[in-house]
């Protein structure tokens, strides 16, 4: 049956993203006109830093054994925190709340493993985004759409990446191949061949983008990230370590594929370091981790996409000058442009894309690309709290 029957074709939606690095909440307000096809305008974007207390707690819950009680509390705690940031955002933006049609939210990933594992008597793959959608709807007084990954996972997909459908609507080009490259905690790309239709889209997670760099910038220097890539620039590439890291099977895996911090974490690096019979100094490790990101992206593009593309870069990593230098050096045959050319800021892309996914849900349009996620078929993604 048809569910929704809205008597309008302009929607105002808020999109909320908190990435794997869980240091900030990104909030976008977009306007979507739907005439022949959806046209998206970014009206406002803010990124609010989380307190260290919050970030530490999340990392603790991810890393350690947690009680059900803590996870239950965290779901509601995040709804309260998110509601406060949304109120702040609405105030900062100066828009009347009554004009906003919906909130669309990713939630804080605590677990994501699309690889089916035996659990009791069944093979189960799963993803867990902490947040209580109903509580967020009540606290904000606005409808909330969320849990976009589960529907795809239930259909044997990876539940990721979800941004490709947004890339497809926004970037596809009749005359040139396009790669939309996002450098968040994890690097992901969407490859849109010239004049692509939906079944041509290839999209996957390349590997780590900032997550390892951020972790060690914090561990070694107490910095939230490696500003402009300065630490890496002052280090020397350890090629032996790089080769060990790049020998991980993930980089060879055919798309569709997705990954996260449960794989590319401290342990991953530590295992590699232990294979060396010498110590790697701090700056050299920063340099090598930055090359790991730049090289694994290059490998991904040469192997599974088309280097002679226009590469539209977004995400916090696009601010890392040294990383961008290395990327452009490795992919000398690509044309790099910032996402700003398309009316979206680099940092806002994922939150805008999630607002768009909320709009797709409310219009009962499919949100996954089976080619990208591996799902058995295309389906509506999300859950609605009113």
């Amino acid at each position: 049956m048809n569910f929704f029957n809205f008597q309008k074709n302009i929607f105002l939606g808020i999109g909320i993203m908190t990435g794997t690095s869980c240091d900030a909440i990104d909030i976008s307000l977009i306007e979507i006109h739907d005439i022949a096809e959806p046209v998206i305008n970014l009206i406002s974007f803010q990124s609010y830093k989380f307190s260290a207390l919050y970030s530490e707690k999340i990392n603790e819950i991810i890393a350690k054994e947690s009680k059900v009680k803590e996870i239950s509390q965290l779901n509601y705690y995040l709804s309260q925190v998110f509601a406060e940031y949304i109120e702040q955002f609405i105030k900062d933006t100066g828009i009347a709340k009554s004009k906003i049609d919906f909130i669309s939210v990713h939630g804080q990933t605590l677990w994501h493993n699309p690889k089916a594992e035996m659990f009791l008597d069944k093979y189960v793959s799963s993803s867990f985004q902490s947040l209580n959608l109903s509580a967020l709807a009540k606290l904000t007084g606005l409808p909330v759409v969320g849990d976009f990954r589960s529907g795809d996972i239930a259909l044997k997909g990876q539940g990721a990446p979800l941004v490709p459908i947004f890339d497809y609507y926004l970037f596809r080009n009749p005359d040139a191949p396009i790669i939309a490259l996002n450098l968040g905690g994890i690097a992901n790309l969407t490859y849109l061949p010239k004049n692509a239709d939906l079944s041509d889209v290839i999209a996957f997670d390349c590997g780590p983008a900032n997550t390892l760099i951020d972790f060690y910038a914090n561990k070694f220097f107490g910095q939230n990230f490696d500003t402009n890539g300065l630490n890496a620039r002052n280090g020397k590439l350890d090629n032996k370590l790089l080769q060990i890291l790049l020998s991980d099977e993930y980089f060879e895996l055919e798309p569709p594929k997705s990954t996260g911090r449960e794989k590319f974490n401290y342990q991953f690096i530590d295992n590699a370091l232990q294979k060396l019979n010498y110590k790697v100094n701090e700056l050299d490790l920063m340099r090598t981790l930055t090359e790991l990101t730049a090289k694994s992206i290059e490998i991904s593009i040469r192997k599974f996409a088309e280097p002679q593309s226009r590469v539209i870069v977004s995400g916090g990593g696009s601010k890392n000058l040294f990383l961008m230098e290395r990327l452009k050096h490795n992919l000398f045959d690509s044309e790099f442009v910032g996402i700003e050319k398309y009316g979206i800021t680099s940092q806002s892309k994922e939150s805008v894309a999630f607002a768009f996914l909320g709009w797709l849900f409310l219009n009962e349009k499919n949100g996954n690309i089976p080619n990208a996620t591996g799902a058995s078929h295309s389906t509506i993604l999300g859950v609605l709290a009113i």
Copy 2:
């Protein structure tokens, strides 16, 4: 804005309940006609036993520290398990799946504590029902409504009881006071004064019904429950122990109030037993736990409702002959009738009520009774996966 616009006033909905004792899944199919007000017909009911493996695992996850991974997997595992039982139910009922409008599901409670506790920098109360609604919608191909407790908790309510609004629609009587008493793992009641309107409804959890009896029937005798109350009948009441158990502050607390197995569990009994300077034998403990249920319900009714009511009994505990004898003895001034008089079986009540809550959501009607839950106001309860 209005969300739903269904061109019909007859709905077929499936309601699913798995109680705190987590030994079975109850599934009802109901038809709801909405002319002047909703009229409910129970078409089919089945209760399917869970495997011991499943029950043990749930109990392990509740009792012990669990990893995020396990909780994430359990959410999807339950969606798979529930989807299989729903298919079986549809087959057993012989109805065409295409005729069913929605599934409404409670989920498996892993945590419920509406009492606000400090969590990081905020007071948080929370409830956690394991299940992934989106996965269940994809696996069944049917819309799913769930997570009914969170909206109420977000509005400072207890998130329970939720059945009172169903009791109100089904049982209210212009000429007599009514008490709807449900004997599940926990005992709860709805008091509907003569000719009540919604603001007159009083409802709360009385305390344990079967949860402790079942636990010790299993521990002592390897039985899933105390059949007909035979073990209890063969024991002697330990009045000293009973008084210690009844001295718990919960029984004195003014409604609204709700509770669960996180309070009335093995530990609760063990603490009381340790205050005695003698051992209580197995049958005497069964007898005393049965009286704890019967007596705490009596206290609840005399203190917070009206004993000279018609008491409509439902739930598995209504099959415990000895418990019913004790209840009738204690509440000699009440009139007891089985819920079967109202076209619903004793066992099906909660699953029927949850199907009704799903219907309320899809009709954008409020589902909580602030009087019963303590919420700041009445609101739509639930979340929809399509």
